[in-house]
Amino acid sequence: MLLTSVIIVLREVLEAALLVSILSALSVAHGVKRGWIGWALASGFLAAIGLSYSIDTVSNWFDGVGQEVSSASMQIAIYLFMAIFIFLIRAPARNGRHAGAVLPFVMALIVALAVAREGFEVLIYMFGFAGNLKQFLVVLVGSGIGASIGISTGVLIYYLLRSMPRNWSLFASLFLLVLVAAGLASQAALLLIQADWLPAQLPAWDSSSVIAEDSVTGQLLYALIGYEATPTAIQAGFYFGGAALITLIGAGAGFCCRQKRHAADEKSGT
């Protein structure tokens, strides 16, 4: 039970911690203070409590697939806010003041939504043992260990990103963010397939003999890049389409900004 609780909590915390560390690294590199993290975590935690209390009602929505639909909606919302974030961080790279006001708000929304989504499952799991004090304590200790490992990994990734040369760090952070966003898009598709809102298909391929999903590597890759051993064509389409779209938004914003700057330079006669 101790090991189970470590694994369950680690799996959920790792996803959120990764997102927080990448966003923090990017925001600090762009001169945004880290004050938003506290607010984001607190509101995400409150939302997770609210979700875990309303799960009974939510589950019954849409003929019993409310859980899938609401989770998928949250994933899509996180994806959209990440697209806005990437646009903001790429576009005003030269006058950081403009994005400075909106950036923390967008990042806080992303993190709060991610914490709510990952957190409510952990809370449901933990409260399931509330009736038995001995078991609850074991689960509490296990959850603490799992959360610590997850948070430490996040901190490690943050300092790894911060210790790189600036251009490398920006590239690595944006690259990781694109992969996380792609994973969110494919998870949303999977949930909608489970809800029977998107058509189900046979898996497009099976890579479980190379990296099994329940192996340590598989679990890490799942948290990092949304790895699935047996995705369907629709899911793979969401993954690669999601990655391509957010990359285009980032590249487009960067291009747009450069054009504007050129125009401004020409106007001022330099």
């Binding site: 449901i124 043992f129 009736g131 489970q194 298909q201």
Partner: protein
């Protein structure tokens, strides 16, 4: 006369609604499975190949459970004393293990597709 008309109305509504509801159920075979004392009952279910099925998982325990399977790509929280709907397939013939994530040591099951 009025009561007769009402009766007729009721009959029409009944036929109409059953007509709407029937094809939906006819399209997807339903299978049921229970969770009792953190165990799946039955632990093995046989479903037809290349067919989408509706799996109804009833959690008879007072504590929550999460139906999960890497092979089926499914994951769903089921609160205590509740029934959850999980759509599965179409699948190729084979064996697809599933488990209860909150009690993985005991809650183990297998879906046999043939």
């Amino acid at each position: 006369m009025i009561s007769r008309q009402r009766l007729l109305g009721c009959f029409v509504v009944l036929v109409a609604t059953s007509g709407i509801a029937m094809p939906v159920h006819a399209g997807k075979p339903e299978f049921e499975i229970e969770i009792r004392n953190h165990l799946f009952w039955p632990a093995e279910i046989v479903i037809p190949a290349h067919t989408k099925v509706k799996l109804l998982v009833t959690n008879n325990d007072p504590t929550p459970e999460e139906f999960e399977s890497y092979e089926l790509n499914r994951e769903k929280v089921i609160m205590g004393q509740r029934t959850a709907v999980v759509f599965i397939g179409p699948l190729a013939p084979g064996e697809y293990p599933f488990f209860g994530e909150f009690h993985p040591k005991t809650a183990q099951g297998k879906l046999i597709v043939e």
